[in-house]
């Protein structure tokens, strides 16, 4: 029994260690970090549940298996156990409440929408998706295709709209995604992106070349950003 617990622990630890290399779990913006925090928190709580189930499962299956010795046993019928059932109703509820509170807080901060981030300050970019390319329009009215440049440290505010079908704007290293629709403009914000080069992609299936509807993202210093805008 102890050995199985140890193996589970070991795989758990090695899994967690491996996770720090994973893109989404090691994000490069504050928005992404909040999301990663939620992922870690839910993973931790769920790991607890998983371990309890695995241990009970292994224990019961091994202990109560059919053996020649038990051949003629007739198991006692147990109707149920109110207290036990109550326990495994209440504990999940408590765990879920622990998870629900930060979920609500961060969701309220981050949710994209038609009326989201109206008063927010930051670098505004109009994003237009169409089969199968991305257009980015900056504050000075200049446009670039399939290349997005952002200044580091400043909140980036995206106004997203599609020209044809539904697309989804996603830069895994920075933060989660948001859809683009032909009939309305959504607004999304990424806080405090860190310097670096990232890959953006379309995450909502949009037709033949959906897989190739990608764009390059560069987060640069304030000066480089100004230079880039001037060069457009």
């Amino acid at each position: 029994m102890k050995r199985i617990g140890f193996i589970i622990m070991l795989t758990g630890i090695s899994l967690l260690a491996g996770c720090s290399q994973i893109t989404v779990l090691d994000p490069k913006s504050d928005t992404g970090k909040d999301q990663a925090y939620l992922i870690w928190l839910s993973l931790a709580i769920m790991f607890l549940v998983l371990i309890v189930v695995f241990i009970l499962f292994t224990w019961f299956v091994i202990k109560y298996r059919y053996t020649e010795k038990r051949k003629y046993e007739i198991p006692v019928d147990v109707i149920g156990d109110k207290r036990l059932e109550f326990t495994y109703t209440i504990i999940p509820i408590i765990l879920l409440i622990i998870l629900a509170i930060p979920t609500a807080r961060i969701t309220f901060e981050q949710s994209p929408g038609t009326e989201a981030f109206q008063d927010a300050e930051g670098v505004e970019v109009n994003v237009t998706g169409k089969q199968f390319q991305w257009d980015f329009e900056y504050e000075n009215g200049e446009e670039d295709t399939n290349k997005l440049v952002l200044p580091e440290g400043e909140p980036a505010i995206f106004h997203l709209k599609s020209e044809d079908v539904v697309h989804s704007f996603w830069i895994p290293e920075l933060a989660g995604k948001v859809d683009l629709y032909p009939h309305e403009t959504l607004t999304y914000r990424i806080e405090n992106p860190e310097k670096g080069e990232y890959e953006g992609k379309c995450a909502e299936f949009c037709g033949a070349q959906h897989a190739n509807m990608t764009f390059d993202v560069e987060v640069v210093s304030e000066d480089e950003y100004e230079d880039y805008l001037d060069d457009l």
């Binding site: 893109t23 989404v24 992404g32 909040d34 999301q35 939620l38 992922i39 839910s42 709580i45 769920m46 549940v49 998983l50 189930v53 009970l56 499962f57 299956v61 298996r65 059919y66 038990r70 007739i74 198991p75 019928d77 147990v78 109707i79 149920g80 156990d81 059932e85 495994y88 109703t89 999940p92 879920l96 629900a100 979920t103 609500a104 969701t107 981050q110 949710s111 994209p112 929408g113 038609t114 009326e115 989201a116 079908v165 539904v166 989804s168 996603w170 933060a175 989660g176 995604k177 032909p182 009939h183 890959e199 992609k201 995450a203 909502e204 299936f205 037709g207 033949a208 959906h210 897989a211």
Partner: protein, 638 residues
Amino acid sequence: MEMFENLADAPSDVIAAWIFTAIAGILVIIWVLKKRKLPVIWEYMRTTNHRKIGTMYILFGFIFFLRAGIDSLFIRMQLISPNNDFWVFQADKYNEVFTTHGTMMIFFAAMPMLLGLMNVAMPLQIGARDLAFPYLNAVGFWLFLSGAIVFNIAFFLNSAPAIGWTGYAPLSNSLFTPDANTDFYVFGVQISGLGTIFTALNLMVTVIRHRAPGMSFMRMPLFSWATLVTSFMILLAFTVLAIGLYLLMFDRLFDTKFFQGPDGDPVFWQHLFWIFGHPEVYILAIPAFGIFSDVISTFASKRIFGYASMVISIILIAFLSFTVWAHHMLVVGLGPMLNTFFAFTTMTIAVPTGIKIFNWLFTLRGGLIRFTTPMLFALGFIPSFVMGGVTGVMLSVSAADFQFHDSHFLVAHFHYVILASTILGIFSAIYYYYPKITGLKLNETLGKWHFWLFLIGFHVTFFPMHITGLNGMPRRTFTYDAGEGFTTTNFISTIGAFLMGISILFMFWNLVKTHWENKKVGPDPWDGRTLEWTVDSPSPENTFEPMPVVDDLNPLAKAKNENRKMETTNEHRSSPIARDSIIPFLISMTLGVFGICMTYEWYIAAFVVGAVVFAFFILRALTDEKNDYYGKDEGGAS
């Protein structure tokens, strides 16, 4: 004809499929003629018996499962390495394959196999002699098959839909997919959905009104409970889908403005689709829960732990499943209020599901666990499903879902829950009920090979997919670059997929071997606990003669423990009236032809074919099988 236009430049996979189908078709015809099976086929085409219809449901569901499974192997081959070009499966060909894989697995593989099992087992479990409306049952089955054929024809005409099984507008509108491809999706799913609604209605009336004497609701086996609840969900969910498809059809054929134009709203399609789509996930899972409850109880030789809370949980899950649909739409921009609301409702589903998991575990405690093949599938389900369940809770965390959404993490999650529950459940039930269906018991050794290979293959495929997704791979993409960190995990996933494929070969071998040896078994090969194990194997057309009296949740086990036979009675309600008829087959197939006419916008032909459908309707109304049974006793209370 425009129907065959796309065939002129058919890619090699379509040609290969034609050749394969032609050869297989000829072989089947030769076999049928040689073995003189034509009368059997004719019998099954006209049957209204629940076991026979259930068998056909399972058989055809399994054939479509194989096809959709082969599609998944194509998907995995294309994704095995970065920038890969496997056969023809790039760009729109790849999109066709995953659309077909998803649509077929959900509508034409999982659904019919579950409905088939309900058809076979539920009446036997509750002591009903047949479904309440045997004729309607045949109509429901043939409608499913007709819709499935319509959908499958698309591929053979090189016109398979490429819009994802979710058919998101406006990509599914005629502006972006003007060809017949998407219409095949619309009509194929619509026709089979109609059949599903009829069958659900039928199952529901059967459970409510045809239980044996003494079989109160709280003595009903959990699979029958699952059937009742699932049927109720089907009636609500599939109806909403039917209207969604109805509106999409109008948009495509008559240029209406539901999902396109200045006031059209693509998000409305998503609402309609997911109001169907989320309950659908539980429509697939709840019957499997029922199967596992019965299987675990049988092979732990113990009644199910916490029966009442099991029943309440499935009812709660069913109810909650209608309140969570927008968790598929958290990145649609519904705003923080709705995002949070749907996150919370989604989390609450974990509670009744958790109760079920622990009840199964505590059923095992104190039991005498026999590791038969059905039980292995049930035991494999518990940890696997819990892994899918916990990622489900993670996905419900709305802000985190901005990252998970539409990535391979999501693909891993839903395959974990659907495979672990539905597919393992179906396999478990096929092994469990095979004696009731055919009178034969499948080979246990080969069954265990099937189980272990499938279970290992399943985890090898889908566990790494979580990481692929967290590394940033979106779903429904046919290629990726070497530097993106997707290479290793994708390679492992492909190996796992082939392990699952090999496991199916073992199942095949098992089927062949079992029928070859043809060793009949008695009514009760598993030491069962409930009514279905009191009738002969395979179940005869006139079951429960005389009618048993039920005095417990596990009446057969109780009788065995007390060393007595079950009590019987001759006092029972009137049985459903059954008479063989070819009309259900004809109605359904004609409706399928109607669908194809509409697909190609041959409206005159569609009108004529539609009139034929109604003519069959009238013919049926005038030759009702009840004609021979009613009015025999005019002195009655008329």
